[in-house]
């Protein structure tokens, strides 16, 4: 898959806009608060129509897909920007599209496209990223139980929740604004990356609408998890590339022992290895985005996710190391990437989850 000219132009424009509107000081301030997010990014996302990119045209979207959303995610990752709503908003779009309830689609998709509604996707529980039998239960139109560490949880207007029901697993939509304080409690998690808006969400009878049930719900959940993972992989790859380039620039500028530290092989080779990891992750991301809807999409998504986790982790670890002391100051801000690398690695299933998923695809053997 090669990006076409329109896609290239879109990436350029996204990069330009984000570079102009991203402010490191603002991002650093977010770390010390819970419940606040990168509002400038979100306003930009709405204004630029990124929220509408992958929504079908009939519902007010642009009818594009993972490739274009991935390009935006990569640029957002580059500047450690990105309120998490873009990724999870896409998750909600996918979940809605998996149902065939035209009323629901007409109610929510246009508002998601316009960015009027922010979404969370709550699958993970203590027992894993995607428990086959969630402890959260769906009974008589209402949800009971707790989802832990929901990204966007503190600000989302709707949530897509996996739950157990007599019909097997269900994917349910909760209109969070409609639930009373007794029916829904959000407990903020003081995190190392507060802009992700992590919350434990406890449902005590919050009303919910079932989108899919049984095998169809499990399939839909896996597909949208994979789609979100591909977007996150783009974001991670963008972050990894930014770290690599920051370290490269620092290595060219900083002198020790009478020469730029970039003339020392330990630094050169570390950077060359980072370059390799970034390009491999990028290639897997592009490939996965292009395979959306194909039989090997899950496999491609897992490849993208695994190589992007590795690239971002290694690039932050090594870029911080190359920066020496200035890599570990608050104001230097490299820890924005360090923190983001970790939160993105945990959200949407950690590396072990995706290793097992990919191994199952490749071997036919479960873990």
């Amino acid at each position: 898959m090669l990006y076409d000219e329109g896609q290239h132009a879109m990436a350029e424009e996204t990069r330009r806009v984000l570079a102009a509107r991203t402010d490191r000081t603002r991002l650093l301030e977010l770390l010390d608060r819970t419940g606040a997010w990168d509002e400038a990014f979100w306003a930009t996302a709405v204004e630029q129509g990124w929220t509408a990119l992958a929504v079908p045209e009939e519902f007010g979207g642009l009818g594009l897909g993972l490739i274009e959303l991935g390009l935006v995610a990569q640029e957002a990752g580059r500047v450690v920007s990105g309120a998490p709503f873009l990724t999870y908003g896409h998750g909600a779009v996918c979940a809605l599209l998996a149902s065939d309830d035209e009323d629901l689609l007409a109610t929510w998709l246009p508002r998601l496209a316009k960015g009027e509604v922010k979404a969370a996707v709550a699958f993970a529980e203590d027992d894993g990223a995607m428990p086959a039998a969630p402890s959260v239960e769906y009974r008589d139109g209402r949800l009971h139980g707790t989802k832990g560490g929901v990204a966007c949880g503190l600000a989302a207007d709707i949530a897509i929740v996996s739950a157990s029901s007599p019909d097997g697993m269900v994917l349910a939509l909760v209109d969070l604004g409609q639930a009373s304080g007794d029916e829904l409690q959000r407990r903020a998690i003081g995190s190392f990356d507060n802009g992700r808006l992590f919350a434990d969400m406890t449902f005590s009878g919050a009303p919910a609408t079932v989108l899919e049930a049984g095998d169809a719900a499990e399939e839909a959940a896996l597909d949208l998890q994979a789609q979100m993972a591909v977007l996150t992989a783009h974001e991670q790859t963008g972050g990894a590339e930014a770290m690599m380039l920051a370290a490269r620039d620092y290595a060219l500028e900083r002198k020790a022992f009478g020469q730029p530290i970039g003339a020392f092989q330990s630094v050169k080779h570390r950077l060359a290895e980072m370059y390799g990891l970034v390009e491999i992750a990028r290639a897997n991301c592009i490939h996965a985005a292009a395979r959306q809807g194909e039989g090997d999409f899950l496999e491609a998504a897992a490849c993208a996710r695994l190589s992007a986790i590795e690239a971002y982790d290694t690039a932050t670890r090594d870029a911080v190391q190359i920066h020496g002391g200035s890599g570990v100051t608050w104001d230097g801000g490299l820890h924005l990437h360090m923190r983001r690398a970790r939160s993105l690695a945990i959200e949407l299933g950690n590396a072990l989850f995706w290793e097992d998923l990919l191994a199952t695809e490749l071997t036919g053997e479960p873990a």
Partner: protein, 401 residues
């Protein structure tokens, strides 16, 4: 070993007796200023109990005991999580330097006792914006004139300078000499006119490090430590002490046992985490690594006890242990799922995985970056050639910036 065994028993008993007053639980939730105050009280109590300045001669207020006594006590003290962080630099490097290079012995004794009791704090003014790994590249100037010296310039990374009463400082006294020459060592009154301290925040949120500015700070020649132009070797001696002081096979992160306990209740894709091959591999390999480092340390102690010089393999500890800590901490966060997202600033790195993870990069820099340690091993132990250094032998003021 009976004398040492007794010492260890006595140390253990005393630490247990004061743990309720000074231990981790007692200090939970304190601000840094409050915690420092507790720390000062702990230092005073430790002095009274006879565990301060273990290797410092009795005539200077110390205990006059062996390095082995020191290691034994400090290992237990770290396990007990006593509030000693603020005094680590203060009591480790400056005091031996004063004893060795300062002529006014009464004054030295006063300072040492005050530092050991936690009444005064010393800092160490070495690193500069343009001189991290390459210490000899520093630019802070010491100009001689009249009775003494005038200091101008800027230091960086000075730990706890914001609380310090005194500091030891290295400055360039002759820029016309090649860079390793022309450096001179002083002690400084941190309250003197012209000294400005600006704390800054680290990636983990801690406010421990400072920029320190010197603006025409007057220093008497009696504050000079060692000969004019002899500063580099004084600094090297100081850094060697620092390197060996930082010895913990867990890299000052949580031990493997804590990783095992953390995972006991977790599952990975539906199976108990401790039965997963990846987790078992990580546990086994990190344990084997840390056991090896620990055996090296114990062997070095036995050799020191026998009055001999330990082997060079002691230099491996920081390099290997901190890298092990870094990756293990990342994995510990990942494996906890949503619980891994939580973070409390200032948590204890040996007990908290998030604190351990976010602080690891700082540890990989402190006391010699990985790359410097690898170079040292390659050159000093294996006899490989030095890297190319275009600045070698060139007068400092002729090296292109």
């Amino acid at each position: 070993m009976t004398d040492l065994d007794a010492w260890q028993e006595r140390s253990r008993a005393w630490l247990a007796s004061v743990a309720p007053e000074f231990g981790r639980e007692a200090r939970a939730g304190l601000s840094q200023d409050e915690d420092l105050a507790v720390g000062r009280r702990y230092m005073a109590a430790k002095y009274d109990a006879g565990f301060s300045g273990i290797t410092i001669p009795v005539e200077f207020g110390g205990q006059g005991l062996s390095p082995l006594h020191k290691v034994l006590f400090e290992t237990l003290e770290a396990q007990a999580a006593m509030p000693i962080g603020y005094f680590g630099v203060s009591t480790a490097m400056p005091l031996p330097i004063l004893i060795r290079y300062c002529d006014d012995k009464d004054w030295v004794r006063e300072r040492i006792v005050a530092a050991l009791k936690g009444e005064e704090i010393w800092c160490q003014l070495f690193s500069e914006p343009a001189a991290g790994s390459d210490l000899a590249g520093l630019r802070t100037k010491a100009e001689q004139g009249g009775e003494g010296w005038t200091i101008n310039g800027q230091k960086l990374w000075t730990t706890f300078a914001q609380y310090s009463d005194y500091g030891i400082l290295i400055a360039r006294s002759d820029p016309a000499l090649p860079k390793h020459k022309g450096l001179t060592f002083f002690w400084i009154d941190m309250k003197a006119p012209g000294v400005t301290v600006r704390p800054f925040r680290l990636a983990n949120g801690d406010i421990q490090c400072n920029e320190v500015f010197f603006d025409d700070v007057a220093v008497a020649d009696s504050q000079r430590l060692g000969p004019v132009g002899g500063g580099f070797s004084v600094a090297m001696a100081t850094l060697m002490i620092e390197r060996y002081a930082a010895s913990d096979a867990d890299g000052f992160g949580p031990p493997i046992g804590a990783f095992v306990e953390l995972l006991r209740s977790h599952t990975i894709n539906g199976r108990p985490a401790l039965r997963d091959g990846r987790v078992r591999s990580v546990i086994a390999r990190n344990h084997a690594l840390r056991q090896g480092l620990d055996s090296i340390r114990r062997r070095a102690m036995l050799i020191m006890e026998a009055g001999q010089e330990p082997g060079p393999e002691g230099a491996l500890n920081k390099l290997f242990s901190v890298r092990s800590r870094q990756k293990l901490s990342e994995l510990a966060l990942d494996l906890q799922g949503s619980a891994g997202l939580a973070y409390t600033e200032g948590a204890y790195t040996k007990a908290d995985w998030a604190a351990s993870w976010i602080g690891a990069p700082t540890m990989r820099q402190a006391g010699g970056a990985d790359e410097m340690l690898l170079n040292t091993i390659a050159e000093k132990i294996l006899g490989l050639p030095q890297d190319h250094r275009p600045d070698k032998g060139v007068p400092f003021n002729q090296i292109p910036a």
